[in-house]
């Protein structure tokens, strides 16, 4: 059953990824990106990361993707006849060659490392969200604050960039 679920999520996410970069209409690309994000969220459940599953659905599929679709539909981009670069076969060949080579290496590598303390039993005693919260607000508090400042900067930057220019033409450049 586990293998079946993993295979489903893996195959559908790879296919949606390929559709995202291969479809012509940008809105279709956005919708296949949505499918990719949802199936990656499913993989997070298989990996016992329930909090990340919720964050992925809410933040990625719910907020970021809606932002993309809003901009796509507001800009009203036309589907162009030439939607790939002129030299794309070269990039395609290089990418596929690196892909094949590194995949062989990935499957041959024995993975090991120091086992931590957050085993599934320990996490399930208090619940995954509790474990994530305790870790985030103790060991990663400084990073959390930095991310808050970063997001504030991103908000200000986005507002300044996308503000409708007022005053004489060209004055805001």
């Amino acid at each position: 059953m586990l293998y079946l679920l993993f295979g489903y999520f893996a195959i559908v996410s790879i296919l949606s990824g390929i559709f995202t970069i291969a479809l012509k209409n940008p809105v279709h690309c956005g919708l296949s990106l949505l499918s990719l994000l949802l199936h990656v969220a499913g993989l997070f459940v298989l990996l016992n990361a329930e909090f990340l599953f919720a964050v992925q659905i809410i933040v990625y599929a719910g907020a970021i993707l809606v932002l993309y679709l809003f901009v796509l539909m507001l800009l009203n981009l036309k589907t162009e006849e030439q939607y790939l670069h002129k030299k794309y076969p070269f990039f395609l060949f290089a990418g596929v060659a690196i892909l094949g080579e590194l995949l062989i290496l990935v499957f041959q590598t024995p993975y090991g490392g120091a086992i931590g303390t957050a085993t599934p039993e320990v996490v399930l005693q208090t619940g995954p969200s509790h474990a994530v919260g305790i870790t985030m607000f103790s060991d990663y508090l400084l990073l959390f604050e930095i991310v808050g400042v970063f997001l504030l900067g991103a908000i200000i930057g986005a507002i300044v960039l996308a503000k409708t220019p007022t005053g004489p033409a060209g004055a805001d450049r």
């Binding site: 990824g17 970069i21 990361a49 981009l77 892909l99 060991d139 990073l143 991103a154 996308a162």
Partner: protein, 100 residues
């Protein structure tokens, strides 16, 4: 038990898909979407190692990656709106000057 290398391989394939998308597509927004695919591939990797090594660190890193992705999407889309509104270009290969 699914081997860790399966997750690493999957995230690798997704990462290469995103990289190819950045390289071959001309549309601005699709390029940004391909960057999102790459960030998701990195997230899968981080969470898989976090699970198999019984550590919380990978999940934390994945959460921060999602936060950074949100900021990147907001600023990137704002830049796209500016470029598109100024009728400067509609495709990435048309932006080849730093001054205008």
């Amino acid at each position: 038990m699914i081997p860790l290398s399966a997750y690493v391989g999957l995230s690798f394939i997704l990462f290469m898909t995103g990289l190819l998308g950045v390289l071959i597509r001309r549309n601005f927004i699709i390029v940004l979407m391909s960057v999102e695919i790459m960030l998701n591939a990195a997230n899968i990797n981080l969470v898989a190692f976090s699970h198999y090594l019984s550590s919380m660190a990978g999940q934390m890193a994945a959460l921060f990656v999602i936060a950074i992705a949100a900021g990147e999407a907001a600023v990137g889309l704002a830049i796209i709106i500016v470029v598109f509104r100024g009728k400067i270009a509609t495709n990435v290969d048309q932006i080849n000057l730093l001054k205008w």
